[in-house]
């Protein structure tokens, strides 16, 4: 690519400051708000409220506050969680955090791509959903298309995300909520039992504990705006506002839309066997507007692509900063004139394509892929544990550093917020190791050991890379044009 250049020493190219409050908030909303969560959570009936409250108190609020404090404190540094954790724990801590965030993406990409392809198939012809060639083709168009958008830098990708998240996440959520309100006020029967406070308390037993990890990470991605620090116009004032706006939008849309679905579809008929669109179809048929199903499928497909874009761009930018600082070989250290880490994006796209190929065409991988999804939960827990630990440590190691947004309450406040988040993700990590469903005792042992080894393998490479690191990695990178 002739327009590729290289990063200046110890930094990425100074990018244009194009992001304001709205764009930052939409990056987080794109990463977190997903229609496909609603039918899954609606299966829990009124209990979904209790689960959401747990996720909000233990994770969404702590991560939003931690992100706001760290992003404003370190607003002159690129790399998001890399910069935050590096400041607290040095290069190793930062590198492990960003690598876990990036490597878990590689495992997650095929599932979100398959979701995009199967949802679009619902709008075109449902039979396509079982056609491997169709699935793989659409997955690759979405994946490489999103990578291409990332190639053209923050200005293009933020516009894409702004419009996309409104079309693909917020409008469908509002439509579902509106129909739910209409349903509840039109005299139609609400299929949930009568409300009482006791109904919202989640059943916590050995069979539901693994679900805790899922609930916690329903709100994963609130740190995504932090990767765009260098492109933000007024980070000290814009970040906290963007965090607050995105958290409110995400919480309100998620809870209300889930309840709307739970009002209309009986729990025993709610299944994800034919995909989220089956629930959406039931919902719109019940509301006597079946013609809305296909357009809704298109909108939800757009929402999936936007979510993919948020997760594809953010961690890649973080890893680009790692490469620019000479912690990866020079071939990773390529930024184009738009400020995009093209080498990381390209390598990411190649690996993602390969994993998607295995996912679609290898039956054994296909059947057990959810185990790899469980691995992504463990990796994300490591990322967030490092973020919460950084939040606490920096209050001790850099107490006088300017913090335009400071979590109130002094040290007790920081321990309460950081501690609650840390305990939440540690607990999620532990229960995330517990298998659900049809596992024999022998399979359970293989599952737990395999999950731990897989998580270790996907998180440990930074330590090896730092051992292999050469001084020439920065210098060589600077020479390449």
């Amino acid at each position: 690519m002739s327009e590729d250049s290289v990063a200046p020493k110890k930094s990425v190219l100074t990018p244009p400051k194009v992001l304001g409050i709205f764009a930052l908030a939409m990056i987080n909303v794109a990463a977190v708000l997903s229609i496909r969560n609603f039918p899954s959570m609606a299966m829990f009936g009124w209990q979904c409220i209790g689960w959401y409250i747990i996720g909000t108190v233990v994770f969404l609020i702590p991560l939003s506050l931690a992100g706001a404090e760290l992003a404003t404190m370190l607003s002159d540094k690129g790399g998001g969680v890399y910069a935050w954790c590096k400041e607290a724990f040095g290069e190793k801590g930062g590198f492990i955090a960003i690598f876990c965030e990036w490597s878990n993406n590689l495992v997650w990409f095929p599932t979100v791509l398959a979701f995009i392809a199967s949802t679009l198939a619902f709008a075109l012809s449902p039979a396509l959903g079982s056609n491997s060639i169709y699935l793989f083709s659409v997955m690759m168009i979405a994946f490489w298309g999103t990578t291409a958008i990332a190639y053209f830098g923050e200005n293009v990708s933020s516009k894409f995300q702004n419009y996309g998240v409104i079309l693909g996440s917020i409008i469908p959520s509002v439509l579902i909520i509106g129909l739910g309100i209409w349903w509840a006020t039109s005299g139609a029967a609400i299929v949930l039992p009568p409300f009482s406070l006791g109904q919202i308390v989640p059943v916590l037993d050995i069979s539901t504990l693994p679900f805790f990890a899922t609930v916690i990470l329903l709100f994963a991605g609130m740190e995504m705006a932090g990767f765009h620090a260098l492109e933000t116009r007024n980070p000290s004032t814009d970040y906290p506002k963007a965090m607050a706006i995105s958290a409110v939008i995400i919480f309100a849309c998620t809870v209300l839309a889930t309840l709307a679905i739970a009002f209309v579809i009986p729990t025993n008929e709610l299944s994800l066997a034919a995909g989220v669109m089956q629930a959406i179809q039931y919902f719109f048929n019940a509301a006597h507007i079946p013609a809305a199903v296909a357009p809704m499928a298109v909108l939800i497909t757009i929402g999936g692509v936007v979510s993919l874009a948020a997760w594809l761009i953010g961690p890649a930018k973080g890893l680009g900063v790692v490469a620019a600082e000479g912690n990866l070989p020079p071939v990773f250290n390529r930024t184009n004139k738009y400020g995009s880490p093209v080498a990381v994006l390209f390598i990411q796209a190649l690996i993602g394509t390969f994993v998607s190929l295995l996912y679609v065409f290898l039956p054994s991988v296909n059947q057990a892929y959810w185990i790899l999804s469980a691995m992504t939960v463990e990796l994300l827990c490591i990322v967030y544990l490092l973020v919460f630990a950084s939040l606490i440590k920096l209050r001790y190691s850099r107490p006088a550093a300017p913090r335009p947004f400071k979590i109130p309450g002094g040290m007790p406040g920081i321990w309460l917020i950081g501690g609650m988040g840390a305990i939440g993700v540690i607990f999620a990590f532990i229960v995330g190791l517990m298998p659900t469903g049809a596992f024999t005792a022998k399979e359970t042992v293989f599952y737990v050991i395999g999950l731990l080894i897989g998580t270790f393998l996907l998180s440990v490479p930074p330590l090896i890379f730092l051992k292999l690191k050469k001084p020439s990695w920065i210098e060589t990178g600077n020479k390449e044009g």
Binding site: S34, R36, P39, M41, F44, S103, N104, L106, W108, V112, A114, F115, S118, P126, G129, S130, N131, I206, S207, F211, A213, T214, V215, L218, A220, T267, N268, L272, A273, A274, G275, V276, P329, P330, V331, F332, I351, V355, S364, N366, Q367, W370, I371, S373, A374, T376, V377, G437, F439, F446, G450, I453, L457, L458, P461, I464, F465, L468, W473, T476
Partner: protein
């Protein structure tokens, strides 16, 4: 590209291996369930042989290509709690695996799907959340059908 030295290739190799090893482990430890036609209703038989009460069973056909019909069972545990399980049979290994793929794509958040899937020959059994205990009771009987 003079910077692409041995160390660089080592880094690439590590990146590829960290992805391939977990996938390879899955392929070895949990190979694909072989496709074979299991006659009758394997879940009903397994549930009844496990001493669990079936409250109701209604016909159910998934709107998926290759799906040939199934049931929605409502079962009751010893405490009287009711659970719902969907089953569906498929006419080919391709349609069955496509259905599994579709299910895997419906993950909640960044995790795995909230429903659990069991494969018994040409049948897929979809168990809702909260059912791990009851599934463990049924599992030994279901295993007999998988062979």
């Amino acid at each position: 590209m003079n910077e692409v030295d041995t160390t660089t290739w080592t880094v690439f190799l590590i990146l590829i291996l960290v992805i391939l090893l977990p996938i390879g482990w899955i392929m070895v430890v949990l190979p694909a369930e072989p496709y074979h036609v299991v006659q009758g209703e394997p879940l009903r038989e397994a549930v009844e042989n496990s001493g669990i009460h079936i409250v109701s069973a209604i016909d159910y056909n998934l709107p998926i290509s290759g799906a040939t019909g199934g049931k929605i069972y409502t079962i009751s545990d010893i405490n009287g709690n009711l659970f719902t399980i969907h089953t569906q049979s498929f006419d080919s290994v391709e349609s069955r695996d496509a259905a599994i793929q579709l299910h895997n794509a419906q993950s909640a958040g960044r995790g795995k799907p909230v429903e659990d899937v069991m494969v018994v020959g040409n049948h897929i059994i979809y168990a809702k959340p909260h059912m791990s205990e009851i599934i463990r009771q049924v599992l030994p009987e279901l295993q007999k059908k998988r062979a």
